[in-house]
Amino acid sequence: MRTLQIVETAYRATVEEQDDTIVWLTHAMAGAGGQFGMLLTGNAVCYAARGRQAPTLTIGEWQQSHAPDLGADVSALVAKGVALYAVEEDLEERGLRDAKLIDSVTVVPRDELPRLFEEYPRVWKW
């Protein structure tokens, strides 16, 4: 059964987790046989922009080995067969409408979202 993951809350503990929790969850469930699409909305549309790389964190003498790479993580979802969408108006509001986006992301105007939802028996908003 296909499930659409709507990700709106962005950068939630991504430095601590070294990923986005819902992107990670979707990877894990796709690996268990689940079929998913992912819609990026709100600030999460920033995940679709190329060239955004967080620096590794250093606290005292402790240095993070792997900074989160959210663009790579959502790209890897696409490679697993997850259809990736981003809301056009949310990209535009953040000055990203003309930015380089990762491959295979489909930009969807907000008024076409009901049609997209119809394609998925389950819709989970996070």
Partner: protein, 135 residues
């Protein structure tokens, strides 16, 4: 065979009104004759942490017994009991990695450790599912 429902929750205890809402929904579902699955993710694994302790409240002028401070672990125990009495099933699953990174391995009896694959399996086997994200 009763229809089952699946809930996925993320909020840590004592942080958000969504927590109480989820508990009320689970209770309502059990009372309506449904089996219920809960997948506790991220901070929500703290809901079943066995060491939650009630406290007195000097502002309220009440000792611990009188204050009867709400504890989500007790609510889960109550829901597990409700499910048992009514012949329904409540399967409460904590994300194991979320438990490990928080050091919250001491869960109350009746709560089990799992993975996102459990969430996927439970949702596929349910008539419907609800994800309750956090902000």
């Amino acid at each position: 065979m009763p229809a089952s429902l699946t809930f996925a929750i993320m909020d840590a205890p004592f942080e958000n009104a969504r927590t109480v809402t989820v508990f009320r929904l689970v209770q309502a579902a059990l009372k309506a004759g449904h089996d219920v699955n809960v997948f506790a993710y991220e901070g929500a694994v703290g809901l079943s942490f066995a060491r939650q302790a009630a406290h007195a409240n000097a502002v309220h002028g009440r000792d611990a017994a009188a204050e009867n401070h709400p504890l989500p672990r007790v609510w889960i125990e109550q829901l597990l009991g409700l499910a048992g009495k009514s012949g329904r099933k409540l399967d409460w699953v904590n994300c194991g990695l979320c438990v490990d990174e928080r050091g919250m391995g001491e869960a109350i009896e009746g709560v089990r450790r799992g993975t996102p694959a459990d969430l996927w399996k439970m949702s596929v086997e349910s008539v419907n599912s609800l994800s309750v994200g956090t902000r």
